[in-house]
């Protein structure tokens, strides 16, 4: 029987693992979304007094800083979604063999979504 110390060791070496990175990014993106949500709701809530109030709020987001921040949020949301699906797959199937591939797939999905969003802001249909 292998020693439990070898199986469950919990030290800095584990933090270089793809699984740890996926865990950390899932948490960081979750915190970012949690901080953003009240602001998102407050902005949309301005429509309660009519379209001009909402437009006044949206005008703030025309600044390039907001475009970068919005792209970052889309990246965070897509990352939280993909890494959350990875977590559900691992928990429901108990199969951890492909967890690294799922994490990489999640990262690729999130980067693609953010890129698509950033490019869409420049597209005029």
């Amino acid at each position: 029987m292998r020693s439990t110390r070898a199986v469950f060791r919990n030290d800095a070496r584990n933090r270089t693992d793809v699984g740890y990175l996926a865990f950390a990014l899932h948490r960081i993106s979750g915190v970012a979304i949690s901080l953003f949500l009240p602001l998102h709701f407050l902005l949309l809530g301005t429509a309660i007094t009519g379209e001009p109030a909402l437009q006044a709020g949206l005008n703030w987001t025309l600044h390039p800083f907001f475009k970068i921040a919005e792209t970052g949020l889309v990246l965070g949301l897509a990352l939280h979604l993909a890494l959350g699906i990875r977590l559900l797959i691992i928990e429901r199937t108990g199969n951890i063999k492909r967890h690294e591939q799922w994490a990489l797939f999640g990262g690729a999905f999130a980067l693609s979504a953010a890129l698509l969003f950033a490019l869409s802001m420049e597209i005029s249909l």
Partner: protein, 116 residues
């Protein structure tokens, strides 16, 4: 906190995650479409004003995220920052209440567009 309550919160977070996954995917697609050519209040309200379907979609989104996010926030406050569970629970409950109130208000706002 009892392990039963922890288990209930764990289940609530996973159950909400299953539905939120689909809603977030729709939201992501919609965002990519909506920002094309710039995002205006008129454009947002033309889609949402008087649209019962979107009102139900976004209200469900708000209710589920108001359950999902505070559980995650509580876990992070306890596990990453070492907060006591009672303090972390109280803050996350307040956060959840704020989310549901502000979120449903936002849903109502874009549904009515100030016309009611």
């Amino acid at each position: 906190m009892t392990s039963g309550r922890n288990q209930m919160l764990w289940r609530a977070q996973r159950l909400s995650a299953h539905v939120l996954g689909l809603l977030v995917l729709v939201h992501l697609v919609l965002m990519v479409i909506a920002v094309q050519g710039g995002l205006t209040a008129a454009e947002i309200l033309s889609r949402t004003q008087g649209a019962i379907g979107w009102l139900l979609f976004y209200s469900s989104f708000v209710i589920l995220v108001s359950a999902h996010a505070p559980i995650g926030v509580k876990n992070i406050l306890q596990e990453q920052f070492g907060w006591r569970h009672s303090t972390a629970s109280r803050l996350s409950i307040l956060y959840g209440l704020a989310l549901v109130v502000l979120g449903l208000r936002a849903c109502w706002a874009v549904f009515t567009g100030g016309q009611l």
